[in-house]
């Protein structure tokens, strides 16, 4: 067996490409998350935090986080953060941003938080054109409380409060919040992404970047709805979360940009 003549010098820091790989976790993450295996929410958090770094706005970023499984992220994100009441993040973010217009203000909410408890807050904040970036982690259930039906649960989906599957006659129809927000004049950028495949992750990261950029450009409220796997709340094995999402949620909530300042949006996101 031929020996290769490579010496690894461990006394000094590795050269840039290797050090970049070693520092794989965004430095804004302070520790391990405590969410379920296969959960999509930590992936979304990572994309958001990386974006703040990519845009070099970390030192003026303020987060407002609602109530759901992602609520525990306030412990692991190295960002100034207000943990607010269930549903009220866009209102709190409004107060913060109006007082500190030079800061970058984002909210982190789930479907239960934003579309159930806080539907009024998100719609009016969008209509007022508040210059904030809202991130919706849409898994179609109240994950934190154990998998009950939310306003975004798709028809047919089984939850603990729709055991036979959501049916329109009994439970009404899901609310496509991103479409509603996009229809309001005060919103500047609206997109729907996912974190179920590597390609979807890459695309969603571009969406978040454009959403924050939209805030920096003063275009009004930006919203990125991210479909996130919740295998626990969906009662499927962790490894099947992505497939389940693809077959159940994505047909109802198609991925893509719904509103963007520039006309050639699709290309920009697909680039």
């Amino acid at each position: 067996m031929a020996t290769t003549d490579i010496t690894i010098d461990t006394r000094t820091a590795p050269p840039p490409p290797a050090s970049k790989a070693a520092a794989g976790a965004p430095s804004l993450i302070l520790g391990e998350h405590s969410l379920c295996p296969g959960c999509g929410e930590p992936v979304a958090l990572r994309l958001l935090l990386e974006t703040l770094q990519d845009l070099d706005v970390v030192h003026r970023s303020i987060g407002v986080v609602g109530h759901g499984c992602y609520g525990s992220f306030v412990r692991i994100m190295d960002v100034d953060v207000l943990q607010c009441l269930h549903g009220r993040a866009p209102s709190c973010a409004t107060g913060i941003k109006r007082m500190r217009p030079d800061s970058v203000v984002f909210t982190l909410q789930g479907d239960g938080d934003m579309v159930n408890e806080g539907l009024q807050e998100i719609l009016h904040s969008a209509a007022r054109g508040e210059n904030i970036t809202c991130i919706l982690l849409n898994n179609g259930v109240f994950g934190d409380t154990g998998g009950q039906q939310t306003a975004t649960t798709v028809l047919g989906q089984r939850t603990k409060t729709s055991l036979e599957g959501r049916n329109a006659e009994q439970h009404g129809y899901p609310i496509p919040i991103a479409d509603m927000v996009a229809s309001l004049q005060g919103s500047g950028y609206v997109a729907r992404g996912a974190v179920s495949t590597p390609a979807a992750v890459a695309k969603t990261k571009r969406m978040i970047k454009r959403a924050v950029q939209s805030q920096l450009d003063g275009n009004g409220l930006s919203l990125v709805e991210i479909l996130t796997m919740c295998p626990t709340g969906w009662f499927v094995p962790a490894a099947e979360g992505a497939d389940y999402q693809g077959s159940s949620m994505e047909p109802v909530y198609p991925i893509g940009e719904l509103k963007s300042p520039e006309p050639q949006t699709q290309e920009a996101v697909h680039a």
């Binding site: 430095s27 804004l28 302070l30 520790g31 391990e32 703040l52 770094q53 970390v58 030192h59 003026r60 970023s61 303020i62 407002v64 306030v74 412990r75 692991i76 994100m77 190295d78 960002v79 100034d80 953060v81 207000l82 943990q83 607010c84 009441l85 009220r88 209102s91 709190c92 973010a93 409004t94 107060g95 913060i96 109006r98 007082m99 500190r100 800061s103 970058v104 009024q120 807050e121 009016h124 007022r128």
Partner: protein
Amino acid sequence: MTLELLQGSVAITRAALAADCKFFAGYPMSPFTPLLEAMSREMADASGVCINAESEIEGANMALGASAAGFRAATGSCGQGIALMQETIAEAALNETPLVVFNMARNQQDYYQCTRGGGWGDYRTITLAPKDITEAVEHTQLLFHLADKHRAPVILYGDDLLAKTLVGVDVAPLDLPELPAKDWALDGSASGTGSSRQVWTFAMGKKNDPGPGPDGQWRRVAAKFAEIEQVEARHETVHAEDAETLVVAFGSAAKFAEYVVEELREEGHRVGLFRPITLWPFPGAALAEATRGVERVLVFELNAGQMIDDVRQWAHDRDTIRFIGGVSIDESGLAFGPLLDAPVIRERILAEHAEHAEPAAAVPTARS
């Protein structure tokens, strides 16, 4: 001192601006509405922001956000609107965000609402009840100070008269002690430093710097309110020293009662007034002292009897307490009814006082 003729709501607005209030959000509701209108007119010139919020819930949360960002912020409403804000008021108490709430009430039926901590968890709200607009101007400034000092929500208990009456008033800035810088406030500057900030009722802190957690935080907050209770109680007495009959009243009702007490004194009746200025903390120790030598304590409040609970808790002898107030609402339902009138109050005081006490030799004095 130069007096300017101002509507109460405008005077309170000017006082808030003098206290460096930079954010206001509210939702119309009578008689709070003129305050919202005045704020929206005057805030921009003071380089502040006023938002006509979509609901009381939104307004309160916007103000909480603005305050968490380190700026003096307020909201307001009355009755049902304050009820909608209770979750947020409690949140501000438990996550220790200063918040000034202007309760321009329709009557005095919301004493419990202001003083009992009507949201959730263990907390109270410092509540100042000015007797007139001049005092409301001072209280407004004091409230912003107290909110920051204690990092807590505080309430101004106003009413229709304070909101709408035109009076000559001087909005002079109060000279209040300097407070420490808000190093807890969120401005983004600590993001990415490894010691980023957090405002959170559960106070668990960050992974690399754990906080006290809910148990520790809520014990601490409870201890803080116990301390506030000891130091922030305020009251006023009028002719209480030698009174046989002591009337207890707050806010506008106390202003009317004071007038009647002065009138009865001039006629030789040994009548006095005890006025809680803070509804919470209730000035209990002072009331115990003031009621030590009296023969009867008459509680006059424009409701079915709410403050009387606190009076019962503190008066020297509970058996001397009589209720002479009552529910009294005008036809619209939005303001005080006929009970808030000097002759009626006089009659009710005398009915209790004269029944038992012979008036001392009347000393006729000329009214100035």
